[in-house]
């Protein structure tokens, strides 16, 4: 087993591309080290990306934020600008693991591990976050929704790694929220997770919406029919009911000890409704503060 700690993303990509055996990116390591310990993976090469400035910083860009792939969740949740602009994405990331795990775990690690129940992913999907990928053929920007395929399986090619995630600017009456169901109060894996992002005009009519849905299919889903139910409405009860039904209809969950198919399907609609209401409240608060917070 080799350990490398390159200084640039391009060097990291070259190392990953050049490795004949199994190569793994090490950002927070909260998944990788557990997988190594349990014998799930035995990499021939570990590429630590925490010494790459572009991957460890949060920078403002066109009114939005670019978050390096190795930035831990705790650091994001201490960033006032990020928490003000995308509170739903931040609260999703904030639910991953303990304080100790928060100090290391990254959203991009959560994304690239491709777990369907990854708490930070539905919020990013709802936010239409864009991942910047560096690989042997250069740079490409990909919506976050297009990265996971199935548990442990992504669309990243050999030699590719996510450098950063971009969360765009938003109009002043906009808000987002993430809610999950777990049987405990803390430190658990989502049985269902829903992220909702809304944009509204000055009359309070929803002009854009996105709903990300986790833990109820082989990968995190973008539920377009749920969004359609909200767009053009003022989020009245009838629209919310339609949105909840569309969210439930999109579920293709497994049956396991943490939740039955029926339960997960029903709860998805309930959580989507609640998350939409929180997102609406945040949008209105933000608008009344002139687009701040």
């Amino acid at each position: 087993m080799r350990y490398e700690s390159p200084q640039t993303v391009e060097a990291a990509s070259a190392l990953l591309a050049g490795e004949e055996g199994l190569a793994r990116v090490l950002a927070g390591g909260t998944d990788l080290l557990v997988q190594m310990r349990s014998g799930m993976v035995e990499p021939d090469l570990i590429v630590d990306v925490k010494n790459i400035p572009a991957m460890t910083s949060i920078t403002e860009e066109n009114g939005g934020y670019r978050i390096g792939a190795a930035v831990p969740s705790a650091e994001m949740n201490e960033h006032e600008g990020l928490c003000a602009l995308w509170p739903g994405v931040m609260e999703g990331a904030d639910l991953i693991g303990s304080t100790q795990v928060q100090g290391r775990a990254t959203m991009v690690g959560n994304l690239c591990n491709c777990g369907p129940a990854a708490d930070s992913v539905p919020g990013m999907v709802a936010a239409n976050a864009i991942a910047t990928i560096i690989g042997p053929n250069g740079r490409r920007d990909v919506p976050v929704i297009d990265i996971p395929v199935a548990p442990g399986k992504s669309t990243l090619a050999k030699g590719e790694l996510v450098e950063s995630v971009f969360l765009p600017a938003r109009p002043k009456r906009a808000g987002d929220a993430y809610l999950r169901f777990i049987p405990r109060t803390e430190m658990d894996i989502a049985v269902v997770g829903v992220g909702v992002s809304l944009e509204l005009d000055d009359d309070g009519i929803c002009t854009d919406a996105r709903v990300g849905l986790g833990a109820v299919a082989i990968k995190v889903l973008l539920v377009e029919d749920a969004a359609k139910a909200l767009i053009g409405s003022k989020l009245d009860d009838a629209s919310l009911k339609k949105m909840a039904a569309a969210t439930s209809a999109a579920c293709k969950p497994i049956n396991d000890k943490r939740g039955t198919i029926e339960f997960r399907t029903k709860v998805a609609g309930v959580l989507a409704t609640r998350a939409a209401k929180i997102a609406l409240e945040r949008a209105n608060t933000r608008a009344s503060n002139g687009g701040e917070k």
């Binding site: 087993m1 350990y3 927070g28 390591g29 190594m36 303990s98 304080t99 100790q100």
Partner: protein, 158 residues
């Protein structure tokens, strides 16, 4: 590769060691440096007994490779007391009898100290959430939470 040479700082002192890729920071602390205050409970980031700080941020030393400590500043339980003078969190854990077997205690002390440095006046709920990643199978937690609240009050000068 024979080993990775690492230069780091632990509790303010410059430290150098050679480690294998697979070795965690916890392995290095305990087996190479003789710093056995950090405990191995689960080795999977669930129990918090191996809590340390890395550049001031609380983390599980079992979830970090020894190699990753290069150029960082590590804080362990061994650096919490100043000589024989206990940190208020340590003293209040004793005063409240907030330990039995003691295996989780170093992790709780490191985690609670990190909390109080960030938030000198936490609510009970904030303390409970902050310490959710520290498991104790003896005490039932209440005494530990009270100890942290007492330490916070003392450190604020109340």
């Amino acid at each position: 590769m024979s080993g990775i040479h690492v230069s780091t700082k632990i509790n303010g002192d410059a430290v150098e060691y050679v480690c294998d890729v697979e070795e965690t920071l916890l392995d290095v602390l305990r087996d190479k440096l003789g710093m056995t205050g950090s405990k191995e409970g689960c080795a999977s980031g669930d129990c918090g007994a191996c809590s340390v700080t890395v550049d001031g941020r609380l983390t599980c030393s079992c979830l970090m490779l020894g190699a990753e400590a290069q150029g960082r500043e590590i804080g362990t339980i061994e650096g919490v007391a100043k000589g024989t003078e206990l940190h208020p969190v340590q003293q209040k854990i004793l005063d409240n009898a907030a330990l039995q077997c003691g295996v989780c205690t170093p992790g709780f002390v490191v985690a609670a100290k990190a909390l109080l440095e960030k938030n000198p006046d936490p609510t009970e709920t904030e303390i409970r959430y902050w310490l959710a990643g520290n498991l104790c199978r003896c005490t039932g937690y209440d005494k530990i939470i009270r100890a942290v609240m007492d330490a916070a009050a003392e450190m604020r000068g109340n």
